[in-house]
């Protein structure tokens, strides 16, 4: 009886595989984190969670069967597809002279590298994001960080940057590079990050 039961249990996913509608495989994460994927049915109810690197879930509506292929097999099986992923975005961090919107010498030198990076990437686009330190209110810093980004953008435009590939943002004091208490001046936190995608 037990044998028959377990056989039918094993057979269930195989039968479903014939009409397996979708599949998810979890690969190794970029920063060493596995991450996870929740599988929901059409009603929005969770059917399964895939959270082991190299696991594959074959899913059809309310049923999911999870198997392990392993991380190396994942990379091999999907080599072509993974090779088609765009290059990870690269971020350049620009700093300012004290009490100035003028970039430091080092940061000015980075500008040429930014242009070189854009050339390397077909269909490149840029995100230029300003940041402040914790001095001042959130509202003021949101506006101030956007202006800081605008200064750099303006400079890059003057150097010939394509205006149609740029997004500008101000993150205010939300993303500190150096953790400080509120109302603390920090040259490291006052910066603009240029991300080339």
């Amino acid at each position: 009886m037990m044998w028959r039961l377990s056989l039918s249990w094993l057979a269930a996913p195989l039968l479903l595989a014939g009409c397996a509608l979708s599949q998810v495989a979890l690969g190794p994460g970029e920063n060493g984190e596995a991450g996870s994927v929740a599988v929901l049915n059409a009603a929005g109810t969770e059917v399964a969670v895939v959270d082991k690197v190299g696991a594959v879930a074959s899913v059809s509506g309310a049923s999911a069967s999870i198997k392990t292929m392993g991380s190396a097999a994942f990379d091999a099986k999907y080599a072509d597809l993974l090779a088609g992923l765009p290059t990870p975005p690269r971020t350049f961090v620009l700093y300012f002279k004290e009490n100035s919107v003028e970039p430091t010498e080092e940061s000015q030198a980075l500008m040429a590298e930014i242009f070189a990076e854009i050339k390397k990437r077909p269909g490149a686009d840029l995100e230029i994001t300003g940041h402040t330190d914790t001095v001042g209110s959130e509202e003021v810093n949101d506006a101030f960080s956007l202006r800081r980004a605008a200064e750099i953008t303006s400079y890059l435009f003057s150097q010939g940057l394509d205006k149609t590939i740029v997004r500008i943002a101000g993150r205010g004091e939300r993303e500190l590079r150096e953790q400080t208490p509120d109302e603390t001046p920090s040259a490291i936190n006052r910066r603009v990050e240029v991300t080339v995608r």
Partner: protein, 142 residues
């Protein structure tokens, strides 16, 4: 604090037209196109993706795209995927990204939307919904 010049303000104003874009094609080969408002637009690197677009890949085609929250996508042969909704706040880096994979195979490396909200990055398929949380995945619809 120095008063900012009109140049900087102008720079912001000029950059705004890019606001409608949710991502860009970075590589494409074979038959790869976007369907938008009943039109079929062949894609090449730099093509701007908008909300509502459907990426259609032919039997021997492929395409890769990076979205404005740094989500990266690679679509393989026979894929049909619609970017149903995409909301993203540049300041908070939070939002919601819902797409529909009708058929085909895609690799996705999640970006900031998934990083900042475990419920926000969803790929719907005809029978199921996948909620992607800071992960690199391959999704496949027969």
């Amino acid at each position: 604090m120095r008063v900012f010049g009109t140049g900087a303000i102008l720079a912001v104003a000029l950059a705004q037209p890019a606001w409608a874009d949710i991502g860009r094609i970075k590589l494409a080969s074979g038959a790869a196109s976007i369907e938008r408002d009943g039109k079929v637009l062949p894609v090449k690197p730099g093509f701007v993706i908008e909300t509502g677009d459907t990426l259609v890949i032919g039997a021997r085609g492929k395409a890769g795209a990076t979205f404005i929250d740094n989500t990266r996508l690679s679509a393989g042969p026979g894929t049909r995927m619609t970017f149903r909704s995409f909301d993203y706040n540049d300041t908070t880096q939070q939002g919601r990204f819902v797409s529909f994979l009708k058929k085909g195979v895609v690799a996705i490396i999640s970006g900031r939307i998934a990083r900042n909200d475990a419920q926000a990055m969803r790929v719907e398929t005809p029978k199921n919904v996948y909620v992607i949380r800071r992960a690199r995945v391959v999704l496949n619809v027969k």
